[in-house]
């Protein structure tokens, strides 16, 4: 295969992984939502919490949409196989994001039909389900899913569908694999940690900050239990390897551990990420005044998730393995767009740093003044 094509496939797997990593960081919005009544003990505090995550929810949402679009454009066979097959998992994820999209704007408005509390419950549902489901779905990158891919089906006029699912549960069976669920729960508690660190940074209210710091402990313990269990298992488990010559997929003991050893820069990114996350958490917990934890833990999250996703797709690994038919497994090579499309989109990707720069600029401009009691009582656009 053309070496440029191989490079582009790796580049686009990197970009998709980066978007996935940014999405997990931005799930701090969901984590924060899930803590609405844990941290907000009165209406004013809840209002501050909602206005804090409410000014960022669109970034998470947009990243999810862009993640979907980028996956579609760069690895369309994943898009068609996973979305069309694991139907119920994706539908549940989408529905809980629909609930979120309207809830911020509608919850405090008169005439909203369902009442404030219902929309707040919607936000909590989104806050819990989105990280758990996304984490569980990503777990199938390492533990496999149940599908068949047969491109020749297109010539069967009566039944031309290329990708089909092997179970009638259409993706829900992924939750029966404990290691998938473990990743889902790890993402959930990480999102809650990030949510707490974000509150500490973004809301000028001593009570909220104190309560958030206190809550960090229990969330961190739970996160570490689930994350470390998943990580240790990942490094010890058999992985889905691809023979670079024959393109056959086979099970290889300690595949993901070998991936880290064979790609030491990915190992460095992973370790740096874990250290950053822990530093952000521990320093925030110990210091009563330090509020930069979100940036360290956030950057650490991006590094960690990026490393794990690179581990799933690079170094001759099947990133979306099929347990129903090993040779149907998706690799970055057999599922990618054409070289022309990847090249064209790579030109567009040059804009990404510019996009990140204006997001950073606008974010900073809005966050220069922290959310406080006074702002919540002003006659302004508020949630």
């Amino acid at each position: 295969m053309d070496s440029t094509y191989i490079l582009l496939q790796h580049y686009w797997w990197f970009l998709v992984s980066l978007l996935g990593a940014l999405l997990v960081f931005l799930l701090f919005v969901q984590g924060g939502q899930s803590l609405l009544f844990t941290i907000g003990k009165n209406e004013l505090q809840q209002k501050m919490l909602l206005n804090s995550t409410g000014r960022k929810w669109e970034f998470t949402f947009t990243t999810l949409v862009t993640f979907g679009g980028a996956f579609f454009a760069s690895f369309p066979l994943f898009y068609s196989t996973s979305f069309g097959g694991a139907y119920w998992v994706w539908m549940l994820i989408l529905i809980c994001f629909v609930l979120q999209a309207v809830s911020y704007e509608y919850q405090a408005k008169k005439g909203n039909l369902l009442g404030k509390k219902t929309y707040q419950v919607f936000l909590i549902i989104n806050g819990i389900l989105a990280p758990v489901l996304i984490g569980t779905a990503v777990g199938t990158f390492y533990n496999g899913a149940e599908f068949f891919v047969e491109k020749a089906n297109l010539t069967h006029v009566g039944m031309p569908v290329i990708s089909s699912w092997a179970t009638p549960f259409h993706g829900l069976e992924a939750a029966l694999v404990p290691w998938n669920l473990m990743l889902g729960l790890a993402v959930f508690f990480l999102a809650r940690i990030l949510g707490l660190l974000y509150f500490i940074n973004n809301i000028a209210d001593e009570e909220i900050r104190q309560r958030s710091r206190k809550q960090l402990l229990v969330e961190t313990v739970l996160f570490l239990v689930f994350f470390l269990s998943f990580l240790v298992h990942l490094l010890l488990q058999k992985g889905y390897a691809v023979d670079p010559e024959t393109k056959n997929v086979f099970m290889q003991p300690n595949k993901y551990l070998f991936n880290l050893i064979e790609m030491p820069y990915v190992l460095v990114i992973l370790l740096a990420g874990v250290v950053c996350v822990l530093f952000g958490i521990i320093k925030s917990f110990l210091s009563a005044t330090w509020n930069k934890g979100i940036w360290f833990a956030g950057a650490g999250t991006v590094f960690t998730v990026l490393a794990l996703l690179l581990c799933a797709g690079w170094n001759n690994t099947a990133y979306y393995p099929s347990n129903a038919d090993l040779q149907s497994s998706l690799t970055i090579e057999n599922s990618s767009s054409s070289i022309f499309t990847l090249k064209t989109m790579s030109y567009v990707s040059v804009l990404i740093p510019f996009v990140l720069a204006y997001i950073f600029y606008a974010w900073r401009a809005l966050d220069l003044r922290k959310i406080d009691h006074e702002e919540m009582t002003q006659n302004k656009h508020l949630y």
Partner: protein
């Protein structure tokens, strides 16, 4: 046992996509139109420094925000439904279709998401100039996002800039600019966005008229009408031009859609355009010899002109398109549907032969099969069509929707002309009849807007991608009951959220601009 796709699965999958698209399109046009109007108002504030314009812009931003949230929610589902419900489609054309979606995400959505936060929460926190720029960038992002999704939609109507790769069994992009700048895409983008501007103009004018009828916030209402009516007038005049361009493109690229829009069964030279007409319900097929109309008024020769830019040109009807045999523009004899179906079957069989030959490492056979495939690929999708009659889209729905769109479009031009003139003569405030008409035009503009999409999408049937892939071969392999369940889930969810949206909107409007900020 030979398996067959359950036709009810196709119908329910189409129904779900239509439901999501219809709901999404209830909110998007107002975003596109109101976004520009509020930006114009804020620009006036920026230039004049008058607080009145700030309050006015902020009120419309409030309406914008309520509408925007639910538009985003429905849009998310729409994007992912390409994968969840149309998985074969996603693979078959993902190489082309995915790119505009990804560009939409990177270039447009982030712009919109970033600057909308500044627009809503940045008052007093950022400079006036930065705030104004954010308001324009928000609507710029929304419009850019419309551009890319409409490029993708246009490609489904007129697939260009791609080649079929039998090794990967999909279409692959070979010319990005042929996709992005196809005449269908340009017309579709302009026509759709401008129609959104009309919605914005009508909604702003209509709500303002409600204040006038109630004798509340009169200064605010008259100022808003001035902006809304002029903006709406400009948009609706431009929409005539883009509509003409769209119709011409339909005639060139999708003649069956044009024939359905006109309920033209027997083609003719110097064909007339049906102004108004009532279809004959007794007509059930293209070849039943039943008169298609109970009644019609035609504009002589105008269909020929719109379709071919020639008053005397020949325009094929539904029967001609099915039976073939007429002379096409390039002097060839048109194939019949049956001949196209045969060619489609040849192409599909050639693909199967090619893959088998490749498997057997028989390069000679592979090359032969490839030649047959390439020669017949233009009709690939026809190979999945069982009956020529399946190639006729629902004529009644397409015909009436087209007329609803065009007639209402004409009405809005008239309305905006009257509103703009009276507004600038400062006599609008005394014309209660006109205020009522403007108010009741709000539901009409939504009907017109939806009707336009019905023409575009229903008229394209049975194709997901014109000539290349019918919906029956594009669908995901799911249990029909699963799609039924999600259909009703979305129906219930979107309907509840729509009622909530309307409830909030009405309360906000009742409170008015002075107290529009809670």
């Amino acid at each position: 046992m030979i398996e067959n796709i359950d036709t009810s699965l196709i119908d329910w999958s189409r129904a779900q996509f239509a439901l999501t698209a219809i709901y999404h399109w209830l909110f998007v046009p107002l975003t596109l139109g109101l976004g520009i109007i509020q930006a114009i108002m804020e620009t006036i504030y920026y230039k004049t420094g008058k607080e009145f314009w700030k309050t006015t812009a902020q009120f419309w931003m409030k309406i914008f925000g309520i509408n925007f949230a639910i538009g985003v929610a429905t849009g998310l589902i729409l994007e992912f439904e390409f994968g969840t419900n149309w998985s074969n489609y996603s693979w078959f054309v993902g190489d082309i279709f995915g790119a505009p979606l990804a560009i939409e995400g990177v270039v447009a959505f982030f712009m919109e998401a970033t600057f909308i936060a500044v627009m809503f929460f940045g008052w007093g926190k950022v400079s006036k100039g930065f705030h104004l720029a954010s308001t324009w960038l928000t609507i710029g992002g929304a419009t850019l996002s419309a551009l890319w999704i409409l490029v993708a939609n246009a490609w489904m109507q007129y697939p260009a800039g791609m080649t079929f790769n039998p090794d990967s069994v999909r279409n692959e992009m070979s010319d990005f600019w042929a996709v992005a700048l196809s005449p269908v895409a340009i017309n579709k983008f302009l026509h759709t966005v401008l129609s959104g501007w009309i919605v914005g103009g009508v909604v702003v004018t209509g709500i303002s008229c409600w204040y006038l009828l109630k004798k509340k916030h009169v200064e605010f209402a008259l100022a808003s009408i001035k902006v809304g009516a002029i903006f709406g007038l400009a948009a609706s005049l431009l929409t005539v031009w883009t509509g003409d361009g769209s119709a011409y493109q339909v005639a060139q690229k999708q003649p069956m859609k044009l024939a359905a829009m006109e309920a033209l069964y027997q083609g003719e030279s110097s064909a007339g355009l049906v102004g108004v007409g009532v279809l004959n319900p007794a007509k059930t097929g293209y070849n039943d010899n039943v008169e298609p109309f109970l009644f019609k008024i035609e504009l002589p020769k105008m269909l020929s002109y719109f379709a071919e830019r020639d008053l005397n040109a020949y325009v094929p009807g539904i029967t001609n398109l099915i039976e073939g045999g007429y002379q096409t523009d390039d002097g060839k004899t048109a194939l019949s549907a049956q001949e196209k179906i045969e060619k489609g079957k040849l192409a599909i069989q050639a693909l199967a032969d090619y893959r088998q030959a490749k498997k057997d490492k028989n390069e000679t056979s592979a090359a032969e099969a490839r030649t047959v495939l390439d020669d017949n690929f233009a009709y690939f999708g026809y190979g999945y069509i069982k009956n020529p009659a399946d190639l006729v889209p629902p004529v009644g729905l397409t015909f009436y929707s087209f007329r609803v769109m065009v007639i209402l479009g004409g009405f809005f031009i008239l309305l905006f002309i009257v509103a703009a003139i009276l507004s600038y003569k400062n006599t609008f405030g005394g014309k209660r009849w006109l205020q009522w008409v403007c108010l009741w035009s709000i539901p009409l503009v939504y009907i017109a807007s939806q009707a336009g999409w019905v023409v575009a999408e229903v008229g394209r049937q049975p194709w997901a991608i014109q000539d290349i892939l019918p919906t029956s071969a594009a669908v995901s392999r799911l249990a029909t009951s699963s799609v039924q369940l999600t259909f009703f889930l979305f129906l219930a969810l979107f309907t509840v959220l729509l009622i909530a949206e309307l409830g909030i909107m009405i309360k906000t409007i009742k409170k008015g601009p002075a107290s529009s900020e809670e």
